[in-house]
Symmetry: C2
DNA sequence: CGGTATTATGCGATTTGCGGCATAATGATT
DNA sequence: AATCATTATGCCGCAAATCGCATAATACCG
């Protein structure tokens, strides 16, 4: 459900996965965000230098959010360790 | 422990909080990352257009990581709901 | 196969990030 | 208050992101 994003490549993959899961085209996302389809394409393919603001807009349009916390190896397996 | 970051401003606040918590100055962080103190200052103050790569470097230097998932209201309280 | 939607890519133009340096503003310590 | 550490700001220059448009490549469907 919640995915790790330590690089731009991972960010792109996550965005693409959720966009597809919601049945949206890059153009749809572009219309929602005011960005351009070409840019979204590049970002989904791991564009290293995308801006934070741009990413946030995309995430918001996809009803996603970003969280920041201490580094962990896995993401779901050791939730148990919290308790 | 893990904080929500829906905007560049929040990203900056989180970075600043963790930097201080680790007893580091902006200059210290700059040395670790190869970035400049001035840039870190601007990012901590919510620089909208910072690059994703730059943010990732800062997070890594602070032993933090970013995760992306569906939007939720609270962050810790309803972890219980997962089970 | 043919046509259409979707995604990827190249390019010129404009905007903007970031390096780099200087310095102002703020904060802490004595 | 004076000094020193830390953080914030302004400006220049270069590199790069984004725009905007065109179009190629690919996938989808009848």
């Amino acid at each position: 459900m919640t995915a790790l994003a330590r690089s731009a490549i991972q960010v792109g993959q996550i965005i693409q996965a959720h966009r597809k899961a919601q049945g949206l085209s890059q153009t749809d996302l572009a219309l929602r965000t005011g960005l351009r389809q070409e840019l979204i394409s590049r970002i989904e393919n791991g564009h290293e230098g995308a801006k934070v603001g741009t990413i946030c807009e995309l995430l918001a349009a996809l009803d996603l959010e970003m969280t920041i916390g201490p580094r962990t190896k896995s993401s779901a397996a050791d939730i148990r360790d919290i308790f």
